[in-house]
Symmetry: C2
Subunit: 449 residues, 2 copies
Amino acid sequence: MTRPTPISGFPEFLPAEQLVFDRVLATIRATYERYGFTSIETPAVERRDTLVARGGDDKEIYTLSRLTTGSGSTETELALHFDLSVPLARYVAQHADGLVFPFQRAQIQKVWRGERPQAGRFREFYQADLDVVGRGRLGLTYDALLPAVISDTLSAIGVGPFCIRLNHRQLLQGWATGAGLPAALVPAALRVLDKLEKIGIDAVRTQLTSTCGLNPARVTTFLELATASRPGTQVLDDLAAGALPLNAALEQGIQELQDVTATMQALGVPDTHYRLDLSVARGLGYYTGTVYETGLQAFPTLGSICSGGRYENLAEAFGPERFPGVGMSIGVSRFVPALMAAGVLAPAAATCAPVLVTTLRQTLRAETFRLGAELRQAGINTEMYLESDRLGQQLRYAARKGFVLVAIVGEDELAAGVVRVRHLATGTEQVWPRDTWTADVRRWLAEPA
Amino acid sequence: MTRPTPISGFPEFLPAEQLVFDRVLATIRATYERYGFTSIETPAVERRDTLVARGGDDKEIYTLSRLTTGSGSTETELALHFDLSVPLARYVAQHADGLVFPFQRAQIQKVWRGERPQAGRFREFYQADLDVVGRGRLGLTYDALLPAVISDTLSAIGVGPFCIRLNHRQLLQGWATGAGLPAALVPAALRVLDKLEKIGIDAVRTQLTSTCGLNPARVTTFLELATASRPGTQVLDDLAAGALPLNAALEQGIQELQDVTATMQALGVPDTHYRLDLSVARGLGYYTGTVYETGLQAFPTLGSICSGGRYENLAEAFGPERFPGVGMSIGVSRFVPALMAAGVLAPAAATCAPVLVTTLRQTLRAETFRLGAELRQAGINTEMYLESDRLGQQLRYAARKGFVLVAIVGEDELAAGVVRVRHLATGTEQVWPRDTWTADVRRWLAEPA
């Protein structure tokens, strides 16, 4: 008989906060769908081998077992997915012949990682993934479509000022090999670069020159370009003008980024919503072309809330067929609690219904039912208070829960064929005839608060 | 390098089926919200002790562990929830002071049970729960509200003819004790009754008389009442007229069911959507009053797709405070695949967008972007085909994916300021001026197929 306590790393919300979180999820989904990205959902589990093979961290993967193992149990092979990319790869490989390519897919689900819980990091959290996967090939235009959709989505949520930072793995590869690094050591150098925000420019410079053995002058020039606060695509102009000695990989990266950003402009992405950033490396070996990270200007400590990139072959673990693609993922659980706490996404009511219909007395209950039905019929979410309590208690309930309007019918109103409606925030009351009152309610609800 | 195979008991859908499933979930949620039932979401996990204490079957509970245990790991205590009732109980006990009672909550989530997979039974499945929980008390009107909401919800989904069957635990209790059974043995008798559909009336009669020791004549009368195909509330009339010898519990059950069904009628529930059924026992000891099961007339082998009941105290495992409530839960994963297979809920397109905008040539891409933006602006989900393929291939893609309309702009259309739109199913084409075409598209989409 103990009062339950929260489980660390597994967040849950009170109803008012949950409504905000769910509205964010619904906005993401609706915006993804507006561009034709159709949702799939995969099981919470994958085979353990699938997850481990795709770079899952053993210490973070939750495996399943049963308290008492029955006969024929196979769950020892199963584990909770830690992202939605591995499930997508498995899904595409498994169902390739049932899918139509280019496959534009959205996927908004919980994922689980046994990380040490810390601020903004959870063990259970939501990701909202967006990918376009081709069969054998996928054009570069999709590398511009994805940040365009993300720009629309973040604007629709109302996250405040944000910036999608773009870079290109070939560009980084070309620079690093041009600065004297053998190709095999490039991933290690990129992992160093990836820590720029965390460890600072001096530590990165030291590691790149002494540990990785990169040409110190080239490292300095590169880090100047990477950390200069230049808007839009100006860094590309510098590069094209020879700020770094060119080679094939570097030129490919520059050219593709020029193409991608020109297409983003044609797609109408406001130029305040993105810029080139040579320090974006994306630790994962997985990416081969364009890479993305996204920061909220007012919440720099949150880190990237939407990352992704172009990959050469999604499903290489599952067969010889090549499925190139490009994807981005919004880390919903990463930023929504912070934006709620800051009032940017403020919880309001603890109910999804703006109207409460009260019951003045048991004999008027049928009238309560009729009023409720009329509002629901008019498309207005409506709760009916069905306990036999005094009106004062019903109004206190309405205020605590955050209803906007309360409908009251007593014997006088019933006899006169009217409904009394009270606006809780202002205390104003209106009395409307029964045959038009739902339109009046809708009008009052539409008025600015 | 092996092609992945499905994991038994963990279903997943292709996009066209997923769209049907998601539409069902969205309809359930919207209808619950129409009555003011506000969604909460709890983590996928609860503490193991919480689940076991609340009647979880050891063999069915999935516990979590990590592949490699890090320091400070506490996951050995965690397990996946097997329903949404235990999480609700824990949530109410944990957050009672942050909630407003009566607490009208919806909860639509996956749950996991390590059952042996069989037709219609999965190890991972969706439940859509609806509960009203009081603090200290909860009026009987809510016992009628819940089946009213469920009736609306199932109608809105379009499941075909269904019937919510009501019974009352006190009525069963009163009958069983009246037929000579000590109160302590009543649960065992109800578990026998619960198997009526599975083992048949003769086996139930035998077990109730010889094993449980119930009065044979009373068993016969009861089973006649329980299996008679009487519409609506007629069984209640028989009981009130003395078909079984009355006692306090029996009378309480009859009276509450009379009240509940009268309220359901006042709430406008069509009388074809519910009836009394004395054979509904609900195996769980948990329920103390009204109980519900729901069958689809055209799919009798599915069993109950929506069950629930009144409970005396939701959170008794967590403290002395009493939280009575009433709940029902739709087993979404139980019936949607069967209804899809039968064509009652038929998958159509593999895309959430009705319109595809094609790209005739690279130089016209900016025009493709503009057309897409105009449709999206008009609130129409629109995919843009962004590969440089011939029109024929783009049309085959559109047909395979199930788009309704395809927008085509070549140089002629661009020069003339028009858009050519093809209706894929009929092959008809329309040419519309650019300044009004989105309204034309909307009109064409609204026409019956």
